[in-house]
């Protein structure tokens, strides 16, 4: 569902904006009961059978945006149930991160069906290509035996009238971990043993039935509490907030929200590129290890560790750009709370890891940040002249785009080890990443640097982004070219780089 502004997008963004407004105001928290009526006004349903169901779903989304769990819908509970507990100036998180709102789920099915467009043609190639003889001609039309059909799609591909349709549950199709299962009513259910919180299911559900938990309420509460809050913004931020929002104005806008400083996470990317270049030279080029898999995308590295545990030692142990940047900031500002602002849900889970919890205090997405800008009435058109940003290099800023990590590490290998050869491969989307690791497991990627990105297109395609992917890639490219320093090793923060 990327690249389209749909009612799903609209509701999601209204929810973030309203929760941010609630947090900034001093209104009683019970006001949350009125928000479903504000977001879904009137008496006539706009999107579903009943306006009451629409409001109940919005109620669940509001709870998730507050960080609260879904309600048990078999018991009478107000939307505000438990809200006092989560209204705190620090992270409030109870797993799971990504949630299916069961009664919003359409219980979509997978299948292959013959439509009325079937002409009952003489050739009927649909029968000839079926490997399990599931297709036959009944009453002059093609017929598929659902018990035999293995949903290979060959009949679909070969029908001259496009009369056979293969349909897949969108959330399951988007999931690279096969983590979407069904409950007893056929509705989507996430297998959390498999899920890596990449967010692709929530970005692809056409019924707005999947959402992740947010931390904006607690973040705003911490800001209002007068705490020192510092933002670390991921390299994919460029262009996300519209044409008036130059990178410099985004920094200024974030400070208007109450953050004391803003750092580019590309600083941490620079550090990671140099660290991984050294690792490649010392371990892979010497054949001590078969390959090096990058670590910056948490969905990819979690997938690798879950599905290919024997390859886990070859996933880089370098600090992710988020963590490296947070540690640099904490060194300078030990009492500050660090907020990672990024494109994806998976970083919220990464920040929950025991080794990261003390480094990153909050994680929010670009969409959630935009909700804060609107709630606080910060508009980029009103921001005057700004200072140029000169924190990170072209290499680090390129991490936002697929293959950008590879390019940065390769450049470092060439600079630091001029005679060294480096082979690379990269994959986008967890399904493709799995294929790449399968090849690696078979020994076909020995001596390689492997870059994996959970989102097709890289971080600019994350579930929490606003800008269409192609435009975001261009914007990141332009910001890269503006960096005064090109090579990661030139970054002035390198001397303070945390090592572990």
């Amino acid at each position: 569902m990327r690249g389209f502004y749909t009612p799903v997008t609209k509701i999601r963004r209204q929810v973030f904006t309203e929760i941010a407004k609630l947090a900034y105001s001093d209104t009683d928290l019970s006001y949350i009961e009125q928000l479903p009526f504000k977001i879904i006004p009137g008496q006539v349903a706009m999107y579903r059978d009943s306006v009451f169901i629409e409001r109940a779903i919005v109620g669940e989304r509001l709870r998730l945006a507050m960080g609260l769990p879904l309600r048990n819908m078999t018991e009478p509970q107000p939307v505000a149930n438990g809200i006092e507990e989560c209204a705190i100036p620090e992270k409030f998180y109870e797993p799971p991160l990504v949630n299916v709102i069961s009664f919003a789920c359409n219980a979509c099915k997978n299948g292959v069906e013959v439509s009325e467009k079937c002409q009952g043609c003489l050739a009927h190639p649909c029968t000839s290509v079926c490997p399990v003889k599931a297709v036959s001609i009944v009453n002059g039309k093609s017929h598929i035996d659902p018990d035999k059909c293995i949903k290979c799609g060959r009949c679909v591909d070969n029908c001259p009238y496009n009369a056979i349709v293969k349909f897949e549950r969108p959330c399951a199709k988007a999931c690279g971990m096969d983590a979407i299962e069904s409950d007893e009513l056929g509705r989507a259910k996430i297998n959390y043993d498999k899920c890596v919180s990449c967010g692709m299911c929530l970005a692809n559900c056409p019924f707005a039935a999947i959402a992740d938990k947010s931390q904006i309420f607690q973040l705003i509460t911490a800001i209002k509490n007068g705490e020192e809050i510092i933002a670390a913004i991921a390299p994919a931020f460029v262009g996300q907030f519209g044409p008036l929002a130059t990178p410099e104005k985004v920094f200024a806008g974030i400070q208007k929200l109450g953050f004391s400083e803003v750092y580019e996470v590309a600083i941490g990317a620079d550090i990671g590129a140099v660290t991984e270049a050294h690792h490649f030279a010392h371990k892979v080029a010497t054949e001590e290890e078969p390959f090096l898999a990058t670590s910056c995308c948490p969905s990819w590295s979690m997938m690798a560790k879950k599905l290919f545990p024997d390859l886990a030692p070859y996933v880089s142990s370098a600090l992710t750009p988020m963590v490296a940047t947070a540690r640099i900031i904490k060194k300078e500002h030990p009492n500050a709370k660090i907020v990672f602002i990024g494109p994806c849900a998976a970083k919220k889970l990464e920040a929950q890891r025991r080794s990261v919890r003390s480094d990153v205090d909050f994680v929010i997405t670009f969409e959630e940040l935009m909700g804060m800008f609107i709630a606080k009435d910060v508009d980029f058109g009103d921001i005057g002249s700004t200072e140029p940003i000169d924190q990170a290099t072209s290499n680090g800023r390129g991490y936002a785009i697929s293959k950008g990590v590879t390019d940065a590490i390769v450049q470092q290998v060439h600079e630091l080890y001029p005679d060294m050869q480096i082979n690379t491969d990269h994959a986008e989307g967890l399904k493709e990443c799995r294929k790449m690791l399968t090849l690696a497991k078979a020994g076909k990627r020995n001596g390689y640097l492997l870059e994996g990105m959970g989102c097709p297109g890289g971080c600019v395609a994350g579930a929490g982004t606003i800008l269409p992917i192609n435009k975001a890639q261009v914007a990141v490219g332009q910001f890269k070219s503006k960096a005064e320093k090109k090579s990661a090793s030139e970054n002035s923060f390198m001397k303070d780089a945390p090592t572990e």
Binding site: G3, F4, Y5, T9, K10, R13, T17, F241, G242, P243, L244, M370, G371, F373, I374, D377, V378, D379, F380, G381, I466, L467, P468, K471
Partner: protein
């Protein structure tokens, strides 16, 4: 060649309510085969005022305001204008 001028408001509220996706769809019309029009799209300033934030996204096509615009409404309007000018 007919010229159609489309202006999209670039305020935060309009961006949040889908203005950038709408721009993408409008620009894609230039790729339509047989389109005898040049569609110029600008999105470089705030158009709606604070008081009228509930009109987001705001689009102006050849001087005509379209409030709460979405891609289908805007594209239909542009295509209508294209035909009107041709006739």
């Amino acid at each position: 060649m007919n010229r159609i001028s489309v202006e999209l408001c670039a305020c935060n509220k309009c961006i949040m309510m889908g203005a950038m996706d709408t721009r993408e769809h409008i620009e894609s019309l230039n790729d339509l085969e047989g389109l005898d029009a040049e569609i110029s799209v600008t999105m470089d300033k705030k158009i709606c005022t604070k008081e009228e934030h509930d009109v987001s996204p705001l689009v102006i096509i050849n001087g005509e305001r379209i409030e709460k615009a979405n891609s289908e409404t805007v594209m239909e309007k542009i295509m209508q204008l294209t035909k009107e000018v041709i006739q």
